[in-house]
């Protein structure tokens, strides 16, 4: 439970997966298509990952591969990985992939994640060191959360390297206040 308090981990586990119930369950209102609060064996329900995962461990449901790892996405990643919009598919594409891979029957997800990350990583680092994209530009909108923090880390490293070379004031306003003050100026 090392990530118990991890905000990103919690949000990742909220991703929806569709499951088929292998066992009936009563007294729960998680199936919107059902009029009663009883779930029959074989009904298809969309559940958040945290619930689907625990139920799958107890053999109560079988989990389908989520749409963000479908054939269409694979083909797009093979064609030109750097310009695929992964963010709209799932903002935590890699983390979610790592969580879902062991519980679905598809054995190729691991490879898909690795090849997508490798080819996109190169592109992100090159862009981080050469151009400054304003927040909200098109380039940003297709990156996953992980890739954005990589991009920001690369830029921050560059900035502090330049600062170290140039020298300058050691003391600065606390970063939490700095942004606000600028907006009021």
């Amino acid at each position: 439970m090392a990530k118990y308090y991890d905000i990103d981990d919690i949000i990742t586990e909220e991703e929806i997966v569709s499951v088929i119930f292998q066992k009936p369950a009563s007294g729960v209102g998680i199936d919107p298509s059902s009029e009663t609060d009883f779930i029959e064996t074989g009904s298809k329900v969309e559940l958040p990952f945290w619930l689907a995962h625990e139920l799958q461990l107890r053999q109560a449901v079988s989990v389908h591969v989520p749409p963000c790892f479908n054939q269409k996405t694979r083909l797009e990643i093979q064609a030109d990985s750097a310009s695929v919009d992964l963010r709209s598919r799932c903002p935590f594409f890699y983390e979610f992939g790592c969580k879902i891979a062991p519980i679905v029957s598809d054995r190729t997800i691991g490879f898909l994640l690795l090849s997508a990350f490798k080819s996109r990583y190169k592109e992100i680092l090159t862009k981080a060191h050469t151009t400054a994209f304003a927040a909200g530009s098109k380039f940003w909108t297709i990156l996953t959360k992980e890739e954005i923090s990589l991009y920001e880390a690369a830029q921050a490293a560059m900035v502090s390297f330049k600062k170290w070379r140039r020298g300058g004031p050691r003391f600065q306003i606390a970063s939490i206040l700095a942004r606000k003050r600028k907006s009021t100026d």
Binding site: Y4, A25, S26, P169, R170, F171, I176
Partner: protein, 198 residues
């Protein structure tokens, strides 16, 4: 869907940049707590039903068991979201003391809940107590200075009632002073002065 509100709470926390605080959402927090109690009630009623049917709750795997399991898991999930919300906020609140000092700007203090305010004040009190016992100021810059004095410019009207360790001065806006580093630090981190170099 179960656990949706709890996740909204967490997402709201994540929606601002790292190290920033959002307004404490007591309304949503209470709603999630209420959802937990609801899960607890339904869990109990399912277990009771199984007991009335004469089943062994530990081993029976009928529909009621899986219903109860889903309620249990939702409750645990909600708890995790609430704990993460409070814990991460507390972490930010502690870091504020180290980064800004014990006097916070109003716009940040407004975002605290009542208990968080108390927490901040107590934490700040404990730190002060510890530092005075050790006779060591832990909040100053960690890198030894080349010169104990630095040149600063005042950015805001901070009045003239401030007594520094070695002198008093009129800190009018835009005036430039030569101060002890340890005196100037807290004003710089609060954004009231800036360091001048070269």
């Amino acid at each position: 869907m179960y656990g949706r509100k709890a996740c909204e709470l967490v997402k709201e926390f994540a929606s601002v940049g790292k190290g920033q605080l959002t307004q404490y959402n007591s309304d949503l927090f209470e709603q999630v707590v209420a959802e937990c109690s609801q899960h607890h009630l339904e869990l109990q009623s399912l277990i009771r039903k199984m007991q009335e049917e004469g089943l062994d709750v530990q081993t029976a795997r009928n529909a009621d068991h899986y219903g109860a399991l889903i309620h249990h898991l939702s409750l645990v999930r909600n708890k995790r979201c609430l704990m993460a919300y409070v814990n991460n906020r507390a972490e930010i609140i502690r870091s504020l003391l180290w980064k800004i000092g014990s006097v916070l700007p109003k716009e940040i203090e407004e975002k605290f809940s009542h208990t968080e305010e108390e927490y901040f004040n107590k934490y700040s009190g404990e730190l002060k107590k510890y530092m005075s016992k050790m006779e060591l100021d832990l909040t100053v810059d960690m890198v030894p200075p080349k010169d104990p004095y630095i040149k600063v410019r005042v950015l805001d009207d901070i009045g003239d009632g401030i007594v520094l360790s070695d002198k008093t001065a009129n800190f009018a806006r835009h005036s430039i002073h030569f101060l002890k580093r340890t005196d100037a630090e807290q004003f710089i981190s609060r954004g009231l002065m800036e360091e001048l170099t070269g």
